[in-house]
């Protein structure tokens, strides 16, 4: 028998009360006639030794009432023998197989699969098993089943992936699988037990109730590994004379080694060099890219020959040697200072992937905005209606527009295209000075972050823009008025700047933050921000900026399979990157490559410390083991004794009432 709420047993201490009452209560002594009291003394019973317990039956009943009450509250349960053979309760075996990248090292995967097979074969009568694969996320491959054939078939379908392992995800999945009706569960974790798979908080490893942990480690401490764990450099090679790529080779071995690293571009070796790698060190190296083909190229850095874990011997990046994206700058005059400053800033930016075209309002009628990656309207008010319509359609299809106000916009009281209400220009005053400074900025917004919130800029004039529903103001002036407003139009994005782009209303063009402000605003509005030269497995590929022309987008994974269906190519906004390699992105803008690399943490094969593993196992003994012993199996539920105790309690109360009444009558002399 066990107690579900043993602390309630402390209530049994109340049994001392009736004992005390029966022992210490001042009672009415029997009156006796006696010949003389001359030899007596008045003396009451003062010591416990002189007192005697009286009304023993009544006392026993009262004690029984209190003890039964305390026992009933402590929820006693009577464990019935489980239905399993020989008294052993059926167990649910949760076989979690590590399919992360590191399991591809040497023969680790084969060992793991064999171990899983042994567990399946060793299941007892009444046991069931469920197969889980951990990588890239935890997937449940089978329902709980006693059928070894089903389990083996699911096991055969598994192979190591490029994903990273996470023990926290495994435990989270086990928590969802183990419920009240599961009974006792045994988690068999078959893994190389990499330390990098440990979660940040040990709390995430705590096993659920009625679950014990059995660790099956594959691999050994002596396994060494080398990997290229980073790649960076000039991935935008257009216009660069000597683009260079830099990589790092990391050693996860106690042995120093000399490794040959090669640069591969579109399947051809473009360079090779020998690198001495000391034990447990990271060594940088670099390659000149040389002549890259036009458009996008698939570039790889490889260790040759491959080691025992070949999956991390290669790191990929997409080289972009395509023409610069054209930007349209519309101003009152193409020779104004706003054009001059903007062009200079754009060309000065490190990623000069844009070519600037300028036009006046009068020239807009012949221009098609869909040809441009982004349009800038600098203090423009009277836009031809035909261009406005084309611009609106392009914008809602995913285009990017930067609108800067100025004297003309202030006079018109409305911003071009978006129609935001703009008030009269305000003279900025801050104390005795005639300018306003930028105030709070959203750190998470890339434009505000790159331009440091425009903090050094003095704004002598600005126009107050009235925000609409859904608008946000990433940067505000110190007085709280919005300085940069982000407005969403369909899938497109509009940034409204509350001051001018020349140096009349402010000194922005002559401050250091102007170039990053212009460059980041261009990247933000053209969608280049979401396009990286390389991504890590598990990242998300944004498709919105690639649909500016309104056409579909198709994504082909590294194995050559289409990721999107026909409808998905039109509607899907993002695609998860689940395989290492190069994804092909086909859109109206042409062919594009997205390099996807495995997580470099997966290359470190160092196992978890044994003390930590022991601690992890003990969470099962504390949280699950004891409970598992107390509640053997849901199919044979324990007898809950509180109902029986309540019946006994009622009987005891009844008897106590009857007997107490008899004593009361006796005292009254009835």
């Amino acid at each position: 028998m066990s107690l579900l709420a043993p602390w309630f047993l402390l209530g049994a201490l109340a049994a001392g009360l009736p004992v005390w009452l029966h022992l210490m209560r001042r009672r009415n002594p029997v009156k006796l006639s006696f010949s003389s009291v001359m030899f007596f003394e008045k003396r009451t019973e003062t010591t416990i030794r002189e007192r005697r317990l009286r009304y023993l039956l009544l006392l026993a009943l009262r004690l029984a009432v209190l003890l039964l009450l305390a026992l009933a509250f402590s929820k006693p349960v009577w464990e019935r023998p489980p239905a399993g053979i020989g008294g052993r309760a059926p167990v649910l075996h949760l076989i979690a197989l590590d399919t992360s990248l590191s399991m591809g090292h040497a023969n680790r995967w084969e060992s793991a699969r064999d171990r899983a097979g042994e567990i399946i074969d060793g299941m007892g009568t009444g046991d069931r098993a469920q197969l889980l694969a951990n990588g890239p996320s935890v997937s449940v491959l089978t329902a709980p089943t006693p059928d070894a054939t089903v389990l083996r078939r699911a096991l055969e379908s598994l192979s190591p992936t490029d994903a990273r392992n996470s023990f926290g995800d495994v435990i989270e999945a086990v928590r969802n699988l183990v419920g009240e009706d599961t009974g006792q569960a045994e988690l068999h974790l078959i893994s190389d037990l990499q330390n990098s798979a440990m979660p940040a908080r040990f709390q995430d490893l705590v096993l659920p109730a009625r679950t014990s942990l059995v660790l099956h480690r594959v691999g050994s401490d002596d396994d060494g590994n080398w990997a290229i764990d980073s790649i960076r450099g000039d991935t935008r090679v257009y216009g660069r004379e000597r683009p260079t790529l830099e990589g790092t080779i990391a050693s996860y071995s106690s042995e120093p080694a000399a490794k040959t690293v090669s640069l591969w571009i579109d399947g051809r070796v473009a360079g090779s060099q020998r690198v001495e790698v000391p034990a447990w060190e990271r060594v940088p190296f670099s390659f000149e890219v040389g002549e890259a083909p036009r458009g996008y190229s698939r570039c790889e850095l490889r260790i040759e020959p491959a080691d025992a874990l070949p999956a991390d011997d290669v790191r990929r990046v997409a080289l972009d040697n395509s023409d610069p994206d054209p930007l349209l700058f519309v101003a009152q005059s193409t020779s104004g200072r706003d054009v001059l400053y903007y062009r200079s800033a754009l060309e000065a930016s490190e990623a000069s992937q844009y070519s600037l075209e300028t036009a006046t309002v009068a020239e807009l009628g012949r221009l098609d905005p869909s040809r441009y990656a982004m349009v800038v309207l600098s203090d423009v008010t009277r836009i031809p209606e035909s261009f406005r319509e084309r611009l609106q359609a392009w914008l809602e299809g995913g285009g990017g527009l930067l609108v800067a106000v100025g004297p003309n916009t202030a006079l018109a009281r409305r911003a071009a295209v978006t129609g935001h209400e703009v008030q009269q220009p305000l003279s900025s005053e801050r104390g005795g000075e005639r300018f306003q400074l930028a105030g709070p900025a959203e750190i998470a917004h890339s434009v505000a972050q790159a331009a440091d919130g425009l903090r050094p800029v003095r704004f002598y004039l600005y126009a107050r823009i009235a925000l609409r529903d859904g608008d946000r103001a990433p940067i505000r002036l110190a007085n709280g008025d919005p300085l940069l407003v982000e407005h969403t139009a369909g899938r497109g994005t509009v940034l409204l700047f509350a001051s001018a782009l020349d140096n009349v209303w402010n000194n922005l063009p002559v401050t250091p933050v102007y170039v990053p402000f212009v460059a980041e605003a261009a990247r933000y509005l053209t969608g280049a921000e979401t396009r990286g030269a390389d991504a890590t497995l598990g990242d998300i590929l944004e498709l919105g900026s690639r649909r500016e022309s309104g056409g579909g987008v198709q994504v082909i994974d590294p194995s050559g399979e289409r990721v999107l269906t026909l409808s998905g190519s039109i509607e899907r906004e993002a695609v998860p990157l689940e395989s290492a390699g190069f994804y092909e992105i086909r859109s109206a803008q042409g062919l594009e490559f997205q390099a996807v690399n495995s997580d470099p943490r997966e290359s470190n094969l160092r196992p978890v410390e044994s003390d930590t593993l022991e601690l992890w196992r003990s969470t099962g003994e504390q949280g699950g083991g004891e409970l598992a012993a107390g509640i053997p199996d849901s199919s044979v539920p324990p007898w809950r004794l509180w109902r029986l105790l309540l019946v006994l309690l009622a009987v005891a109360v009844l008897l106590e009432s009857l007997i107490a009444n008899r004593h009361l009558d006796a005292l009254r002399g009835d």
Partner: protein
Amino acid sequence: MSRQQLLDPSILQRLANIELVAKTVVDGFLHGGHRSPQFGFSQEFAEYRAYTEGDDPRFIDWNVLSRTDRVYVKRFLGETNTHLMILLDCSASMGYGSGETSKLDYGRYVAAALAYLCTCQHDGVGLVLFDEEVREVRPAQYRPRHLQSILHVLEHAEAATGTDLAVPLQVLSRLLRRRGLVAMISDFFADPEEVVRSLRTVVHQGKDLICFHVLDRAELDPGFRTAALIEDMETGEEMEVSADFARRVYPGRIREHVETLRKKVVSEGADYVLLNTSEPLDLALREYLLYRLRRR
């Protein structure tokens, strides 16, 4: 029924007639191998003694003188014509009895037996019933009908109120002017010094006093198993007494009281007999007869 059983108070209790009780007691006591009371209380010859100067010449045995030419005087067993005055305490405390027989019943049996015994021996017997004052008085006489009168008084004796031992003794000095025997039957719940002070007058008057101290068995050892609220039968005073006190302290105190009373009474020249109401009455009769012999 054996002789001893005839003396058992619990059996005597069942006899309605106190005269029958007295006869039963005395006959039961005298039956068998005891000295005849006639031997002790008649004028029978006892012994010869050589004549010495000063002896009464009336007691010279002339026959012996003539035969042996020696002078002897005859000695007799002594005077038999005496009076017994019985003083019976009828206070409320005498009404106490833990069994079937109260102390007053026991005292009445003793008094009746003594009266009957005296009558049989041709001694005069009187009776005084008292509590705080004298309730009944029967002067000491030897007449055939006198015993009936005494037994009648005893039969109707009831426990009344308090006790004052001095009162009957003052009456006694008026009723019994000559030497005689005085038997006081009481539970003596009083200060021994005070008791002796009262008795001293009687002793100094030359009367022979025997005190029958009647106590119930429960008075010697209450044996309370629990605390009790006891009520004094004379004063009505109530007192809560613990069982521990009743078991451990009280018996010592009552024994000390009995012993003190015995010593003081004996020191005054009187005799003292402790009677337990649970014991047969022969002790009282035996003590009386022995005392009667000693005072000859």
